[in-house]
Amino acid sequence: MEQFGMYLGCNIPFNAPDIEQSFRQTFPNLGVEVVDLQGATCCPAWGTAPSFDINTWLAISSRNITLAESEQVDIMTGCNSCFGILAEAKHMLDHDPGRKAQVNRLLSKADRKYSGSSEVYHVAHVLHNKIGVEKINASAKYTLRQLKVAVQPGCHLLWPSAVMKVKEKNPFFPTMLKELCHALGAETPHYSRLESCCGMGAMRSTNQERALDTLKDKLKSMKEEIDPDMIVTTCSSCYLQFDNAQKLLRDKGEIDFAIPVFYYTQLLALCQGLDPAQVAAISETPRDEIIVRIQSKQRLLN
């Protein structure tokens, strides 16, 4: 079985462990063994070390990558932010030997050495390019036929394309997540704000009001243009923003609709017939109804 080092980050294990559970349960069904990266820390988030000192950032990131190096596996991250941080760090280290030497000096304090032998992938990359849509399709017990999905790939999976091993054909009009949803039978009609920012992260912590405006713009584009049955993302930050901040917008009376939100592997888990109480159990925007619809008899394949 092919192995990948599961880099969890912060939000997934602490705020959305049902996403973590969906990784642990769906990947073995696709022939991938999830290897824990024992002792992994924060990537570190953009607002922390990267905003203070480049080498401290690279030391913390490379420490995380060395966990995969010693397990002789490549990394897969579930969070776009973590992916962006680790992929950029790796790119800098691998393209600048001087920088790598400096960072390895810092890392030696933790008795570690970065070599560059492990690649950094995102869960979406592994699903799309390593596993492939055929296997995903074959693993499904339920189909999403005639369900409309608004996909949210998220920024850090798109840009800067120079640091990525797996690239979208056109990062401004991404198709990977659409294809992953098609593999489950869903429709993914185009909406105009596909590539735009959800307003999570730094923007939300700096100014919640503006971050909510940014999200509202995106939600309105989804609702008005395609009226989706659900929003599907492969970014845990986007996931939290769409789920939690959507509720905030409703509470403020800014929007009058509720669109269920899933991390892609949660949806995949549901299609594989896994237990929603484990793989899709925590949300602020209700999704029980759509879960029941997905795992209904009519949708059973064969």
Partner: protein, 181 residues
């Protein structure tokens, strides 16, 4: 007077500083505006974002903008860097400026809690309710990360203790508490 007398602007060392902090493309910028046109921070109406930050830094502004926390709203989405026709890498200029702000402790207040949490637990984001949530979905209460791994936290703290971040004194309380232990 709102008029800026450019001959009286003291640009000494500003560009050099930004470049040294990682904003290497600063002087390539011709202010075409492409970065701003797709910047979520600019689109959301924050006062300082890639394009005008670059112009101000090129013009010799520093103290005047040091306290503006808008730059901390940058998501590092890097769309600007992807499309910049001059290879400025605008997001890196924004981060270089943030690093200069950080040196002066002109840090967005929202940045402190994650920093403290990072130092203490290895995670910038930590939710105390997580044990309960994890149990609910059938996972062990503690994930296999630094949160349940004192050795991992110690490794991280060794990196942080000698970093320029520690020199700012932001971890002082936490460091002394660690020593008491």
């Amino acid at each position: 007077m709102q008029t800026v007398n450019l001959t009286q602007m003291d640009k000494e060392g500003i560009a050099e500083k930004v470049i040294a902090m990682g904003g290497e493309g600063l002087l390539n910028c011709v202010q075409c505006g492409a970065c701003a046109s797709v910047c979520p921070v600019a689109r959301a109406g924050f006062s300082l974002y890639c394009k005008n930050l670059i112009k101000k830094l090129q013009s010799g502004y520093m103290e005047e903008i040091l306290e503006d926390s808008s730059t901390w709203a940058c998501q590092a989405c890097n769309r600007c860097t992807e499309i910049c026709p001059r290879d400025v890498k605008p997001s890196e200029v924004v981060f270089a400026f943030r690093r200069i702000q950080a040196e002066e402790l002109a840090i967005s207040t929202s940045a402190f809690t994650p920093l403290m949490s990072l130092y203490e637990t290895g995670h910038a984001v930590y939710n105390k309710r997580s044990k309960e949530l994890r149990k609910k979905v059938g996972l062990p209460e503690t994930p296999p990360t630094s949160i349940g791994d004192p050795k991992a936290v110690a490794e991280l703290q060794k990196i942080l203790d000698d970093s320029p971040m520690a020199e700012l004194g932001i971890f002082l309380n936490l460091m002394s508490r660690k020593q008491e232990k």
